[in-house]
Amino acid sequence: MVQSDIRPSAVVAFSGRDRMVQAFRWMLLARLLDDKFTSLYRGGKIQGGVFLGRGQEALSAAVGLSLRSGDIFAPLIRDAAGRLAFGEPILDAVRTYLGSVLGPMRGRDGNVHRGRPREGLLVMLSHLGAMISVVNGMLLARRLKGQTGQVGATCLGDGGTSTGAFHEGLNQAAIEKLPLVLVIANNQYAYSTPNSRQFACRHLVDKAIGYGVDGHSVDGTDLEACMKVVGQAVSRARQGQGPQLVVAELLRLCGHGEHDDANYVSAQLKQAPVGRDCLKVAEAWLREHDWADDMALEGWRRQALDTIEVAVATVQREPAPDALKENWCTLASKHLSEGFHEIP
C-alpha cells in the first residue's frame, strides 16, 4: 500500500482552501440534486429507478475534482457529485432522468445511464465491472497515439469487486501499466448483501497486491482524506506508476434505489464512524478551518438550489422523445440496417 510518499506541499495542493470549498459545493449540489430526484420520483415524475449517492459524495467529488479536462471518467450509479465535479452539465442529469429528448441519451437510456464518451465521460453499462476494460482500451489507444499525461478513473462498489469483469479489467490494466484509477466505494452492502457475503479478505484494498498495483485506503466519510488519497492516486497514475486501486470505507445513507427502505442496514454500522454523513463532516471541517460560516454555507445552498430549480424548470418544458421521429436504427452504417418489413 502506498500512503506516505507525498510531500506536505502536495497535501496542500490536494486539499487547499479553494479545492476543499469547491469539493464541498459539488457535494452539496449533488446531495440537493439527489433530493430533488427523490421528490420528483415520489411525485411520479420519473420513470424507472432513482439511484442516490447519499453518503458517498465526498469520495465521488474527490474523484471528479482530481481529474482534469482530457482525462477519462467512467462513473457509476452513486456518482452524481463526481460527475458534476468532472464537468457533466447538470442539465444532462436532469434531462436523462426526466426523459427529455434533448438530453445526451435522447430518451433511449435513462437515469444514471448517461455521459458523453467523446468528452471522456463514459456511459455506464448496468453490468457491474464492464466499464473498467473500456477505460483501459481508451488509455491504451491514447498511448498508441502518443497522448500522455492523461488518466482514466472509474468507480465501482463492493459488490462490483466480485465480478469477473473487475478481475479481468484490473489485471489487464496492470499488465499494460495503464494510468487507471479504480475507485471502490465500499458502502458495506451490495443492495441488501453485506460485505460478509461478498468477499472474505480482511480489507478490499488487500486485492491490490494480487494485481501488482498500488493500493490506497481511505475513510470515505472524510472529504479531506478523500481529496488527499484520491488526489495522490491520480497523480501517481499520471506520473506513470500504473494502475491505482483506491478503497474507501463508507455507508450508503439511503436505499439501494429510492424504492428500497434499506431496513437491512445494521444499526451498529449506522452508529459507527463509517456511518457518518460525509456532507456534515465536511461542513464541520470547513467551519473548523474557518473556511465556511453560516452565511457562506447558506449562500452555497441557495445557489445550488437555484441551479437545480432552473435546470428542472428548463427540462420540464422540453419535449419528450417522439416514437415517430425516432429513426429506429441501431447501426452507424444506416445503409446496412435490415428493414424488417413488419406489417404495421
Binding site: G48, G110, I343
Partner: protein, 321 residues
C-alpha cells in the same frame, strides 16, 4: 384472495422447497431480503440454510448450480434481471446445457430470468432472451404467460432432469392476477389454445399473450374470430398444436417481444412453412420488437414492443390477404 404472477412464482418455490429436500435457491439478495422483486420473500426464514445469498458473480452462481446438480441437488438460480444472464452465458450454454450429453449425469437446474420490458426499464433491464437459450442444444426454455402457468411450470421446471431457463415476465408480476393456484396443468411442451377462433391463428407467448387476447376481443366485435395459441415453452415448441390451429384457420400471425432476427416467430413460421405450407391461405406474418435495444423512455418503449394496437393492424391486414 387474489394471487399475482409474482406470488405464484414465490409459492411454486415454497412448494418445491417444502416437497423436495434437494431443492435450494441461490441468487443475489434472495435470502433474508427476499429478492429484488420479492420472489423469495420469507423463504430463507422458512427454509433455513437453503436460500442462499450470492455475490455479484453470475458465472460462478450458475457454475455452482451445476456442481450442486451433479451432487443430486435441484438448485434454482435467480438472476436479478434476465439481462445479467449474459455474464453467466458460458456456464449456461456450455457447462449446464452439455453436461448430460457429455457425461450422462443429468443437470436439473432451474435458472429464473426476470425478463421482458417494463416502462422505464431501459436497454439493460428489459431484455427477452429466450431465443438465445432456445438456440443452444440442451436447454428447456419456458415462457409462462399466466399466473397458473407461472406456478405449475416452475414446479415442473424444478422437477425436470435438464436445465430449464425460466423466463418470467416482469410486466406480468403485479398486473396479472388469479383467484387460486392451479391443481393441474398441461405438461411442458404442450401449447394451449388460449382462445378458439376460425379465421386466423395468433401464436405467441409470455406477456404478448395478453396483447393478442385483447386483439382477439377487439376483432371479435368486427366479426373476425381469432384463435390464440400460447406456446408456454418455446423449447420444446409444440409444432403440432400450432399446425392443427393453422389447419383450422389458414392464417398465421406470430407475435414475440424479442428481437426479430431468428426469434421465436421466425422458428414458428419456418416450421409451419416447411411442414404445413398447404395449410396456409395467406403468407404467415410476424411481429416482434424493433431491431434496436429496448429504449428507456415510455414513448419509445411503447413503440418498440408489439402492442395490441399494431397487432390488430397486422391482423386486420392478414385477414384481408
Amino acid at each position: 384472495m387474489s394471487i399475482t404472477y409474482l406470488d405464484a412464482i414465490r409459492e411454486a418455490q415454497a412448494r418445491a422447497l417444502a416437497d423436495d429436500p434437494r431443492v435450494l435457491i441461490y441468487g443475489q439478495d434472495v435470502g433474508a431480503f427476499g429478492g429484488a422483486f420479492k420472489a423469495t420473500k420469507n423463504l430463507a426464514q422458512k427454509f433455513p440454510g437453503r436460500v442462499i445469498d450470492a455475490p455479484v458473480s453470475e458465472d460462478a452462481m450458475v457454475g455452482a448450480a451445476v456442481g450442486a446438480a451433479i451432487e443430486g441437488m435441484r438448485p434454482i438460480i435467480e438472476i436479478q434481471f434476465a439481462d445479467f444472464s449474459t455474464i453467466a452465458f458460458n456456464q449456461i450454454v456450455n457447462q449446464a446445457a452439455t453436461l448430460f450429453w457429455r457425461t450422462n449425469v443429468p443437470c436439473p437446474i432451474t435458472i429464473r430470468l426476470p425478463s421482458g420490458g417494463t416502462s422505464g426499464g431501459g436497454p439493460f433491464h428489459s431484455q427477452s432472451l429466450e431465443t438465445l437459450y432456445a438456440h443452444f442444444p440442451g436447454l428447456i426454455v419456458m415462457t409462462p404467460a399466466t399466473v397458473e402457468d407461472a406456478y405449475s411450470m416452475l414446479i415442473e421446471a424444478v422437477a425436470i432432469d435438464d436445465p430449464v431457463i425460466f423466463c418470467e415476465h416482469k410486466f406480468l408480476y403485479y398486473h396479472l392476477k388469479a383467484e387460486k393456484l392451479p391443481t393441474e396443468a398441461l405438461p411442458t411442451g404442450k401449447a394451449r389454445i388460449a382462445r378458439t377462433g376460425r379465421d386466423m391463428t395468433i401464436v405467441t407467448y409470455s406477456a404478448m399473450l395478453h396483447e393478442a387476447l385483447a386483439v382477439a376481443e377487439e376483432l371479435a366485435a368486427e366479426g373476425d374470430e381469432i384463435e390464440v395459441v400460447d406456446l408456454r415453452s418455446v423449447k420444446p415448441l409444440d409444432t403440432d398444436t400450432v399446425m392443427a390451429s393453422v389447419a383450422r384457420t389458414g392464417r398465421l400471425l406470430c407475435v414475440g417481444e424479442s428481437w426479430p432476427w431468428g426469434g421465436v416467430t421466425a422458428e414458428v413460421i419456418a416450421r409451419v412453412a416447411s411442414e404445413g405450407l398447404a395449410l396456409l391461405d395467406a403468407p404467415p406474418q410476424r411481429i416482434n420488437a424493433k431491431d434496436t435495444p429496448v429504449p428507456f423512455h415510455p414513448n419509445l418503449w411503447a413503440a418498440h414492443r408489439p402492442t395490441a394496437h399494431n397487432i390488430a393492424i397486422a391482423a386486420r391486414k392478414l385477414l384481408r390477404m
